[in-house]
Assembly symmetry: C2
Homo-oligomer: 549 residues x 2
């Protein structure tokens, strides 16, 4: 029975004539419906195109189908959608060596040696997560120590906080690092005791000296990374993602997967800048490709940096750096020029804006241009972290979607308090306020900057407490959203933000049968249980793409 079912479902995903309809019942199902309300159901029928044909309620007569799968009473929710991720980055991060679980230098060196041996084809060994404090080393490790593990290829490993990197001798050579190499502004090249000889560790801005030497991933490495990204995301219940900053190289990898039938993640792509947008899509967004699995929707733009590095552009100086307001990365005329070019081609702009000045500029620029480009544009501001309360109504006014990442709030709250002081937090991560003002939200993770786990995202969104339950009662709890709004943010609203409503994001007739079977009802579980939700199975287009067993 099971083999037959899989065969039927496999066939259903291909453009060949149908083999069979499938009933999946005995589930505790829930979805957001057309009106934004929660609809509960007990089963679905998936048609021969991998779409939902019917949603069954308790007491409905069981329909005649070719096959039936018993849901065994598990909870069925729509496939989760990450409205802001870096898909290729997730895969590349998954393919690099993770040293965060090592407890000594010796243990780390052994793990590095083994990783290099297991990955002979890789020209560079890259990794992250080491921490000499945790190792009890009392000093930074050295290139010579790293050479003892791997000497035949360059190795470069980021420290756990991303603020330092550790290179072996071949990596130093590849980067042209010598005793003559000077410390850059804001950075330090560590030296061997009593000499000018670089020791192998680079701190803060000095890490750039190494990073620029690392070759860009080759196309076959991107193919591997993308396959890994799909695995990582499906394991977390994610069936679709907005890819923020798609390069031509990324796009080609997605297309290769689509062409050879291995594309299982639905990708709403936002090109990294105007050149990528034009090169990929020409003068219009692409159609939906591969049965609604890939579309170039629009363009990702950077208007400012981040709070952590004080690159976010603020209206008033940083509380912890009174001479600095951050700065815009895109000049006013250039921003408007790109927005107009995008709008002329019906491309959807997604503007990265973190500080209140950046958000004001993004909202105002869109406001000016929206008059010339009426219609359903779905302008997006990505992050929208710190917004002057006076600017918050502008989201609703021009139909601008606030694409936000709930976990950033829980990760960044102490830093945000330090950067902004106590009097500029009213528009900080203001999810509920934006909704109450009539605006629209979409939720995502910013993975791999944060974990892609959408259950952590939903928990943060509905509690404004972190994984440790801090702060008790939630940080500025008036801006938390309901469980239903959190689920919508990661399903139907994220689909809407990518022009995908009606295609996927809800378990309703005519939409793609993308769903997840989980062990807790996300609307009823305790915050701790919601966070700990176990994804049992993930299905895309009526086909199983992940099974925890």
């Amino acid at each position: 029975m099971k083999l037959k079912l899989i065969a039927a479902l496999l066939a259903a995903t291909m453009a060949t004539p149908a083999l069979a309809d499938v009933l999946i019942d005995n589930v505790e199902g829930l979805t957001i419906d057309e009106n934004g309300k929660v609809l509960r159901f007990t089963g679905i029928v998936v048609d021969d195109q991998g779409k939902v044909a019917k949603v069954l309620q308790r007491g409905d007569k069981k329909p005649q189908t070719d096959y039936r799968e018993d849901g065994k009473g598990r909870v069925m929710i729509p496939g989760l959608i990450d409205a802001h991720a870096h898909v290729m980055g997730v895969g590349i991060a998954a393919l690099t060596l993770d040293l965060s679980d090592t407890n000594s230098l010796a243990e780390a060196l052994e793990k590095i040696r083994k990783f290099a041996a297991d990955n002979e084809a890789r020209p560079w060994i890259l990794g992250r997560g080491w921490n000499q404090e945790k190792w009890g080393l009392g000093r930074f490790p050295t290139a010579a120590e790293l050479d003892s593990a791997v000497a035949d290829r360059p190795v470069y490993l980021e420290r756990v906080d991303g603020h330092a990197g550790w290179a072996n001798s071949m990596a130093l050579k590849a980067a042209g690092i010598t005793t003559a190499t000077k410390n850059p502004d804001g950075g330090r090249v560590e030296r061997l005791a009593g000499s000018q000889v670089p020791s192998g560790v680079f701190v803060d801005n000095a890490t750039r000296l190494m990073e620029t030497a690392i070759p860009a991933p080759r196309p076959n490495e991107r193919d591997l990374a993308f396959a890994e990204a799909q695995k990582v995301l499906h394991r977390l219940g994610i069936t679709a993602a907005a890819d923020m900053g798609t390069s031509i190289e990324d796009w080609q990898a997605y297309r290769r997967a689509g062409d050879n039938g291995s594309l299982t993640l639905r990708i709403m792509a936002y090109a990294g800048g105007p050149q990528n947008m034009e090169l990929i899509a020409g003068s219009r967004p692409t159609p939906w490709l591969y049965d609604d699995k890939l579309r170039m929707n629009g363009i990702k733009l950077y208007l400012d940096g981040a709070l952590g590095s004080r690159g976010a552009w603020l209206k008033q100086p940083y509380s912890d750096d009174p001479k600095n307001t951050g700065l815009p990365l895109t000049a006013p005329a250039q921003l408007r020029n790109i927005l107009v070019r995008a709008a002329q081609g019906n491309f959807q702009p997604a503007i990265h804006a973190i500080g209140d000045a950046a958000n004001a500029e993004a909202l105002n620029a869109i406001g000016e241009i929206a008059e010339s480009f009426p219609g359903d544009r779905r302008w997006r501001i990505e992050h929208a972290q710190i917004v002057d309360p006076a600017d918050l109504p502008k989201f609703a006014k021009d139909g601008i979607i606030a694409s936000m990442q709930p976990v950033h709030q829980t990760s960044d709250r102490l830093m945000a308090e330090a950067r902004l002081g106590p009097n500029r937090l009213d528009g900080a991560y203001a999810w509920n306020t934006i909704l109450q003002l009539g605006g629209k939200l979409a939720f995502g993770s910013d993975a791999p900057v944060e974990s892609a786990d959408p259950f952590a995202g939903m928990a943060a969104a509905s509690t404004r407490m972190d994984a440790d339950g801090q702060p008790f009662g939630g940080w500025r709890p008036q801006d938390r959203v309901t469980r239903e709004q959190a689920l919508a943010g990661f399903t139907s609203d994220a689909a809407y933000a990518g022009f995908a409503e009606g295609r996927f994001g809800r378990l309703l007739p005519g939409e793609r049968a993308d769903f997840v079977l989980v062990d807790h009802d996300p609307l009823l579980a305790t915050p701790a249980d919601l966070r700990a939700t176990k994804v049992l199975e993930t299905w895309v287009g009526g086909r199983k793409v992940y099974d925890a067993d």
Copy 2:
């Protein structure tokens, strides 16, 4: 009836369930068959996938089909395949201004003015074909004269022979040309009488000064150019082409056409160099996409230049330039390295080799590598114009396909005699000799360098006489091929050279229904009639893409 038929055929090209089978009968049909022989027939049945379902012989019972189209006794041949073309180049050339029919400077200026007005969106006006001798001007034209036609945008126009170019003032400015600009080696910047002021005309190598200033076509311009290329080729009866030197920009335009359903030309793509190959296809050739309409087959490499500019690499010096042997553009180790990388990924290499030294090097390099990469590789040498007779057997030995362009022989014969002298012509354009030695041919045009017209190609292949019937009896007539071999070179053999046999190139059951209705039987027409063949209709995958009416 006609509308219904079109609806049926349109539907047949989509991935939706079938609407109808179609009978096209009352034709004088001919195709190359599985054995390389000519098969004559009276009709075909096209199935709901746009493939040939049945080939009818005289006296066969007429099958039951949903629709019937009367061929009205016209000649039906397989869609013609150009085994060596620059598809985007054909389109770009078709979009530029053609001044070759102008008889005076005034007439040319009027045509330029009108073209600029008709093409307001183009940032540069580009053209070709002017000839101040034909105009009776007695001197070169000037930038000021060109300004009188177009002053709001840069204009650059190639002379009829490609050895000079004419710019307006905005183009001079864009290229940074001033009185201080020096003549480059092998080139001359024309000056106004009695001064150092550039006049606007650039001769020979000086044309590079202008050419580097012309911006690359934008993606939307490429989309336009590609649409134009399809029209130009279909009008000539061409339904498929090997695209030699596909860039990522070209590839994206082909995909956009495929994605939006406007791809009607079958393209076997050979990437322009290793970077394009990897970026487009990753580690393997792409699958056949869009119902056998697009595949990245392999890689195009340049081993030498051309005879005309004495860049072709010869074993002995040029007869008309005794100190020069031309030179290799790719070093031996680099050539072998690229061939190995391509072969490892099952990419098909297509090596441009014109001179006898280049052909020897290509044949030898493939010979060395072929031992390590057995199997059906179909190594290709493009042009293979001048081959040392001692090297000719190597084509057959390693299954190397000679991809040749018959019209080059008729265009270049006098120049070839001058460059090579009388004693090095035995292996020149040696089509029949290669066949007799057991080698394989594929025929193409090198368009837009030559016209893409395959009937001119078939006439040249089977007569070795040019359009004026010169030289009478044919140039080195022992190397002409039969009419049947000429047709195979532009159909079944060109398909084989692109790993497309069984998919298209013959009108046999299971192959795509790509065919042309013409007014002369290419196997029976006089050479003059063959050359003058009128394409009445062109069909791709059972769908009409060109109709002369």
